[in-house]
């Protein structure tokens, strides 16, 4: 799939970034991830709403990735800074995840922006919302959606936003 980092890709990337990587498989059911812009503490809510299990947690010096795979086959990754803030989320799978949950406080503004974009739009295609405080992108088609969102002000210094994927 488009933006899903396979384990090997993730390893390559992190080693390229010259950071220590810790891979922990399961055992993290009490601390997974949270909605975009939220704190690490509210992580469990996501797992329940997405009916997903934490597949793995990947850590570096500056951020942690919590990856959850819902039983529907859609995977959500949440990017958490060292201060505990979810600065980015990414998803891929046959159906769109619950964006109200994944985008958290940003969801109403996302829908408002997407509706405004519809009025200007000239046809169907991938979605790209560049709001003053957040970015949301989604591409693909039924059975294969790929999306991501991030809050630039929360992205740790020195981290490229292309890493959220």
């Amino acid at each position: 799939m488009i933006a899903k980092p396979s384990p090997s890709l993730l390893w390559d990337q992190t080693s390229r970034w010259a950071v220590a990587v810790i891979l922990a498989v399961l055992g993290f059911s009490t601390q997974a991830a949270a909605s975009l812009g939220g704190d690490l503490g509210s992580i469990q809510t996501d797992q329940v709403r997405l009916q997903g299990a934490v597949m793995r947690v990947t850590s570096s010096d500056t951020f942690t990735v919590h990856e959850m795979r819902a039983s529907t086959g859609t995977t959500v990754r949440e990017y958490v800074s060292s201060s505990g803030k979810v600065f980015g989320v990414a998803w891929d799978g046959p159906t769109v995840p619950d964006l109200r949950q994944v985008l958290g406080d940003y969801f109403p503004a996302y829908i408002e922006a997407a509706q405004a974009a519809q009025k200007k739009r000239l046809g169907h295609g991938p979605i790209r919302i560049e709001a003053p405080t957040f970015i949301v992108e989604q591409s693909g088609h039924p059975r294969a959606f790929v999306g991501r969102a991030y809050v630039p002000q929360f992205v740790p210094t020195g981290i490229g936003t292309e890493l959220v994927r």
Partner: protein, 397 residues
Amino acid sequence: MALKFFALAVFGTLVMNPECGTTPASTNVVAAPAQNVQPITVNSGPANNYANGLFTSVTVCMPGSASNCQTIDGVLVDTGSIGLRILSSALTLNLPQQTANGSPVVECNQFVDGFTWGPVQVADIAMAGERAGAVPIQVIGASGFSTIPASCTSTGPSEDTLDTLGANGVLGIGLFRQDCGPGCAVAGASNPGLYFTCSGSSCQPTAEGIAQQLQNPVWLFAKDNNGVIVELPAVSPLGAATVNGSLVFGIGTQANNAPGSAAVFTVDGQGTFTTVYQGQSYGGSFLDTGSNALYFLDSRTSGLPLCPDTADFYCPASSQSFSATHRGANGTTGAVPFGVANADTLLGNLSFSVFSLLAGPNPGSFDWGLPFFFGRNVLTAIESQNTPLGFGPYWAY
């Protein structure tokens, strides 16, 4: 208006100098009308605001009836989705409702840019002498189902009106037989919750059998049922007011749909293949008549600036040429030259609605939208259906 005048003046110059080489040579032959050939048109659509919208007319009938029928125009032809969906505002027939345990079945269909919500009803679908009987379709925005479950509105904005859909309906004739497939047929946590049963304003997700889901009508035809060929002529770099083409049913089933030497690009289970660009492989690529531009990569990777007023399209100072390579799951490769022009300039010509060089960003992948189809005959073979080039799903051109 100055911009529009300029564009028309340049176009006039090109027409007067046919040998200047900027008008692409059309290499494909578009099939003449026949029993299995459905006319298709690229125009501004029923909302009169569409750029690169591929439309056709679809006849729906009461199941089993040859006379109680309605032909609906302005239906978007979409190789990126599956199933016929009609706006309730465009439908006058009172079609039978699909039920499960006595309750009406309603679908929350996810497109990439929004959802459609509406009941599943049953119709015969007739096009170009072909007919599919008792097909589940979606009637978008039908009255009586105005309360949309939160799990549906949580997937994006609604596209339940002519203004938001830009079409009277969508004819999904892509690579698959059903819109969802086995995932929706099983109950429990793994069900993605696209289908619901409703009682009053209360709707609950339901398991929807394969045969009850929305169907690609083509595979239900009695003949010419293994796929479709979208045939559109080449389009001037400056665009065109409208172009006509053919949607041919069947692959290698008639004299007019022989696949010839088309190269076959098979896909993965999600219906995607790989595009190689500047040595990088981008999985998750697809061909889609329902996407209105070539959407690919991002500004940084493509070197193309976004338009000043919209992040949807690229706006290079002058037209640029690119080349990429398609690579099917079967290893077949093919070079694809394509071009990108300034979207503001193209779209500034308000008398045009067809643009071969309209492009925009799609970070990390290639969405080969309608411009890819100009000047080509593109085959879409349906999953598990046999063709002279092998079993679907695949694309070939």
